[in-house]
């Protein structure tokens, strides 16, 4: 008997049938043929499942909007705020109003618009309202906030309608954090001129802010600046506006769209993803920020032109990335410690190998978060500029051969350090999770190499070399005079 489901013609037929199925172009005869192929062959079933699963996943906008690329304009409306739909009240934290969101394609078609979800949501709203009563007390109706945190002026809060509801305000000595209902958090750092000007829009005229959108309804929130506007697409990012210089944007997680120029006539959007940083101006000039400085891992980050106290590592640059790349190195002054983040593009941490902890001389060192993805770059050159004499350390993965440049100019201290690695960008059946403190969930061992640098200036480090499966080296420095 001939098995028509495994014939060469079926190998050609299946992709066509699957494509037609996903493009709503399958006629009755083809549908019967597809069923026949699936009934007869488990391998065909597997291909079918994987193909339709791909099609289903593509329906979710987060997949298509992840990463770089200019979004295409909605052909139906030509409105950048397309597919705005009302969500059931359960999706807003207090359940007290309907929230607006930039809708995923899926939501916009049927799920939310049907009658069922609001019924479920009404019940949930009661629950959630009860749990947030303490926050509701702190607000009245819809609230417009104009927060001016200049040391000379008191904070002022004016109210009008159609603006985000501020559900809490947490003011510290140097920063103020606003919690915006259905959106997330905005932290104003130091003297800042910041105003909420619309339901999904704010303006930063001066100062530094960090925004973290925690609610799906907050996606699409726009912050205007004098140099352009930033649209959040689900993320954490920081903005700095200073008189007389370009505006700086650092995307810590997720992604944003940047449009330079005045709000009335903005440029086409440029998409930035986590780990990218740029400065930009109203004339449309966008420059990569090669490295940023963080006074500690959780801080807003220091901005170009605002030096931290007595930095040892002044800057870092590489020879790989052209002007089209916006990724940044991160320099952490005095920040090397247990559980210090190791790379800008991985959730890995430095830790001592056992309970004794990491070598004492490294604690409090300046260090650089490089890109782990550079571990295979054959022609990589990293230039580290030091402000004064230092001992420069390279933390090198023990799983591969040591490159010549390292052996020639550095000395192996004989001491090791470890990394604690979180699951990477790929889902793993047994995910690795970060532990806390030294000697906990150490995944890989690195040798500590050192070199005395007698003068301020630049040092060039070479490629990591070797094959895949090994990590990029780490870089740290301590002042020479202290050792």
């Amino acid at each position: 008997m001939t098995d028509s489901s495994r014939s060469p013609s079926s190998d050609r037929e299946l992709p066509r049938l699957l494509a037609e199925l996903c493009d709503d172009a399958l006629n009755a005869n083809d549908a019967r043929r597809l069923a026949e192929l699936l009934e007869a062959n488990p391998q065909t079933q597997q291909k079918y499942i994987e193909y339709v699963h791909l099609d289903a996943c593509l329906q979710y906008d987060s997949i298509l909007t992840a990463g770089r690329g200019k979004p295409v304009q909605d052909p139906q409306t030509c409105d950048p705020n397309r597919s705005t739909v009302s969500l059931p009240s359960a999706f807003s934290p207090t359940g007290s109003r309907r929230s607006e969101m930039q809708s995923p394609a899926f939501f916009s078609r049927s799920f939310i618009s049907s009658w069922t979800m609001p019924i479920l949501s009404a019940a949930i709203a009661i629950v959630i309202t009860a749990t947030v009563t303490w926050r509701i007390v702190s607000r009245t109706s819809n609230t417009q906030v104009v927060a001016t945190t200049s040391p000379d002026e008191p904070k002022t809060i004016n109210r009008s309608t159609q603006l985000p509801v501020v559900t809490s305000l947490n003011s510290k000595q140097r920063s103020t954090t606003l919690q915006l209902e259905g959106i997330g958090y905005v932290t104003l750092d130091g003297p800042t001129d910041f105003a909420l000007i619309g339901p999904m829009r704010a303006r930063l005229n001066y100062g530094r802010i960090k925004m973290r959108v925690t609610e799906s309804t907050g996606r699409g929130f726009v912050i205007e600046t004098p140099d352009g506007e930033v649209t959040d697409l689900g993320t954490e990012f920081a903005l700095s506006v200073a008189k007389g210089s370009d505006t700086s944007l650092i995307v810590r997680e997720g992604m944003v769209d940047l449009r330079t120029g005045e709000a009335a006539t903005p440029s086409p959007p440029e998409r930035l993803v986590g780990g990218e940083a740029v400065s930009f101006n109203a004339g449309g000039n966008i420059q990569r920020i090669m490295s940023i400085v963080a006074s500690d891992v959780d801080s807003l980050g220091s901005w170009p032109g605002i030096p931290a106290t007595e930095p040892l590592i002044e800057s870092v640059a590489d020879n790989l990335r052209g002007p089209e790349v916006k990724s940044y190195y991160e320099i952490v002054h005095g920040g090397f410690c247990e559980d210090a983040r190791a790379y800008v593009d991985r959730n890995y941490e430095w830790n001592g190998l056992d309970a004794l902890g990491m070598p004492e001389f490294l604690i409090g060192a300046d260090y650089i978060l490089p890109f782990n993805n550079d571990r295979l770059a054959k022609d990589l050159e990293i230039t580290v500029t030091l402000a004064r004499p230092a001992i420069l350390y390279v933390l090198f993965d023990d799983r591969g051969p040591t490159p010549q440049w390292l052996r020639d100019s550095f000395v192996d201290t004989g001491l090791d350090i470890g990394t604690d690695e979180d699951t990477g960008p790929i889902y793993r059946p047994k995910p690795r999770q970060l532990g806390k403190g030294p000697g906990v969930s150490i995944d890989n061992r690195f040798s500590i190499w050192s070199r005395k640098i007698g003068d301020a200036g630049s040092i060039v480090l070479g490629p990591r070399g070797g094959k895949t499966g090994r990590a990029m080296y780490g870089i740290a420095a301590v002042p020479l005079e202290s050792k």
């Binding site: 172009a25 699963h53 289903a56 906008d61 298509l64 916009s108 799920f111 479920l120």
Partner: protein, 189 residues
Amino acid sequence: MASDSECQQDRQSWQAEYMQMFVTNQRRIHAFIRTIVPSKPDSEDILQETSITGWSKYADVAASLHGAPESFVSWICTIARFEALKHYRKKQSHMLPFSESLLNELADRQQQQSEHLELRYQALAICVQKLSQTDRELLQRRYEFDAKPQQIADQIGRPVNSVYKGLQRIRAALMTCIERVLHAEGFAR
């Protein structure tokens, strides 16, 4: 014995938990339904019905699921499977001519490889970033704006056949890329 207010609190607690779990895992639930019932409108109807049925049953199983996402997905997909069968029986004439045994086979196969499919989703997120701007725009038109190939052809001034072929080519490229990513990360099947 628990007081009325304690019962009310428990009820409120699991209702909120259910909603959060459902919304968080909606993509996976919907993808599961789509493979059994490829029609997009039908699969969305079934998603609705699944959410309602799950809502009515969650209180009985919440404790045994321990708040674990994988357990929740497994449980809700079982509900989705029965909802799909119910839906299929009602609307058979409008749907693919799949037998119930085939639907069950597809559902079994998919539930057994829930983690593998999640891996593929993670890999897809990487592969989409590797597409050219043109290809990504074509996908956006098709998926984000839900335009039919004919509408896309009208919008971009290309023959509809080339749109079909373009979409087929991009999806094939993504399938290949997913295999490569999984292989590179040590998840080859």
